[in-house]
C-alpha cells in the first residue's frame, strides 16, 4: 500500500469504523457500571464476614478468574436458549463482560478495604462509633483512595475485553474491521485503524481516570 494515500484510505473507512466504535463504547458503558455494581455486591459478604455466602463468592471468583471470557460468553449466548432463555447478543455480551470483571473488581475492592489499617477500626470504635458508622465514615473513604488506580486499570481491561462481543456477532469496532476487510476486500491497514481507534479509546479513558483520581484524592486526602 502507498502510505501517502493513507489519509484518503482512512477517510473512506473511518465512518463505518466509527459506527463500530460507538457500539464498542455503548457496550463498555453498559458493562462497566454493571460490573462495578455486581462487584460491590459480591464484596459485601466477605467484608461482613458471612461465612457461607463468602464461600460461594470465592468459588465464583475463582471460576471467573480461571476460565476464558470467550467461553463464558458462548455459554450465555449459545447455552441459555437450551434452558429456554433467549437473550440477544448485546445482552449476553454485556452480561458476560460484566460477570467476569465483577469478579476481578470485587477482589480489588476487598483487598483495598483489607489494606486499611485495623488500627483505624479501633480508633473509630474508641470514640464511640458503631461498626457500620466506622466502616462508612472512616474505612470506606480510605479504601476508595487505595482502590481507585487498580479499579481504573481493571476497567480499561474491560474496555479491551468488549472486543470479544464480536465473536457472538455484535457489530462492534473489531467486527466492523473484519467485515470491511472480508466484504469490501479492503487491505489489512483497516486493522491498523481499528487498533489505533482502540488505543485512542483506552488512552483517553485512562487519562480521564487519572485526572479524576487526582481530584478525588485531593478532596479526600
Amino acid at each position: 500500500m502507498d502510505w501517502s494515500q493513507f489519509g484518503s484510505f482512512a477517510a473512506r473507512y473511518l465512518p463505518q469504523l466509527w459506527n463500530g466504535m460507538l457500539v464498542t463504547i455503548a457496550v463498555a458503558a453498559l458493562a462497566a457500571p454493571t460490573a462495578v455494581a455486581i462487584g460491590v455486591v459480591l464484596t459485601v459478604p466477605r467484608v461482613a464476614g458471612w461465612r457461607l455466602l463468602s464461600g460461594f463468592v470465592r468459588a465464583y471468583i475463582e471460576v471467573m478468574r480461571n476460565t476464558p471470557l470467550l467461553v463464558q460468553m458462548y455459554l450465555l449466548f449459545f447455552g441459555l436458549p437450551i434452558l429456554g432463555i433467549f437473550w440477544d447478543e448485546i445482552t449476553c455480551g454485556v452480561l458476560a463482560v460484566s460477570l467476569q470483571h465483577a469478579a476481578f473488581l470485587s477482589e480489588l475492592i476487598r483487598s483495598g478495604i483489607a489494606a486499611v489499617s485495623p488500627k483505624q477500626w479501633e480508633a473509630g470504635q474508641a470514640i464511640g462509633m458503631r461498626r457500620w458508622a466506622v466502616f462508612r465514615q472512616i474505612i470506606l473513604p480510605q479504601a476508595a483512595i487505595k482502590v481507585m488506580a487498580p479499579v481504573s486499570n481493571q476497567l480499561i481491561v474491560l474496555v479491551k475485553d468488549t472486543s470479544l462481543v464480536s465473536a457472538i456477532g455484535v457489530l462492534d469496532l473489531t467486527l466492523s474491521g473484519k467485515v470491511i476487510i472480508e466484504r469490501s476486500g479492503a487491505s489489512f491497514e483497516v486493522f491498523i485503524l481499528v487498533a489505533a481507534l482502540y488505543l485512542i479509546l483506552t488512552s483517553v479513558i485512562g487519562a480521564g481516570f487519572r485526572i479524576s483520581e487526582a481530584r478525588f484524592t485531593r478532596r479526600l486526602g
Binding site: N66, P68, G79, T174, F188, F191, T202
Partner: protein, 216 residues
Amino acid sequence: MSISVLLANLPYLFQGAVVTLWLAFIVVTAGTLLGAIVGTIASGGGRILRAIVTAYVFIFRGIPVLVVMFLGFYTFPALGIRLSAYAAVTISMIVYVGAFVTEAVRGAIAAVPAGQVAAAKSLGMRRLTMLREVVLPQAARLAIAPILNISLMAIKQTSYASVVGAWELSFAAREIVERTLAAFQIFLGVMMIYFLICYPISLLANFCERKLSFDH
C-alpha cells in the same frame, strides 16, 4: 439435558486441550523471553531505546489481544508472508505477551533497592557483572508473581485464537456444539477443562505473591 453428549465428546475436547496447552506453552515461554530481554535492555539503555520500548508497551497494552490477532492474521499475507492462522496467532500473542512481561520486568528491575546497586558498584562491578550477579537475580524474584499472572491471562486468551480460525480447545467446542447443539453441556465442560489448566497456576501465583512479600 444429559451430560452423555459431553462424555462422548471428551476425547475430541482433550485433543483440543492439548493444542491449547502447546499454544499456551509456546506463547508464554517466548513472550516471557522476549519481555525479559526487552525489559532488561530498556532498563540499562539510552533515552531513544527507552522511548521505543515505552511506545511498544503502551501500544500493545492499549489494544485488545483479539485485535492484535486479527492484525497479525491479515498483515502477514499482505506482506507476502504465507502463514497459517495458527502461526499468525502465535506470533501476535508472543508480541502481545512480551509487552506485558516487558513492563513487569522493568518494574522489577526498578524495584531493586538502590543500596544493592551502590554496594555492587563499590565492589568495582561493571554494568554487565552487576546485572548478572545482583540486579537480575533480585529482579527475577520480584517478577515471578506478575509473570505468572500474565501467563494466566495468556492461557485464557489462547481461546480467542478460535475466533481468528486457529483450531484449539474452544474451536473444537464450537465444532461439537454445531454438530450436537448441546451448547450448555459442552461449554460448561470446556470451562472445567480450562479451569483445571489455570487453577494450579493461579494458586502458584498467589503463593509467590505472599511468600515474596514476607521475605523482602
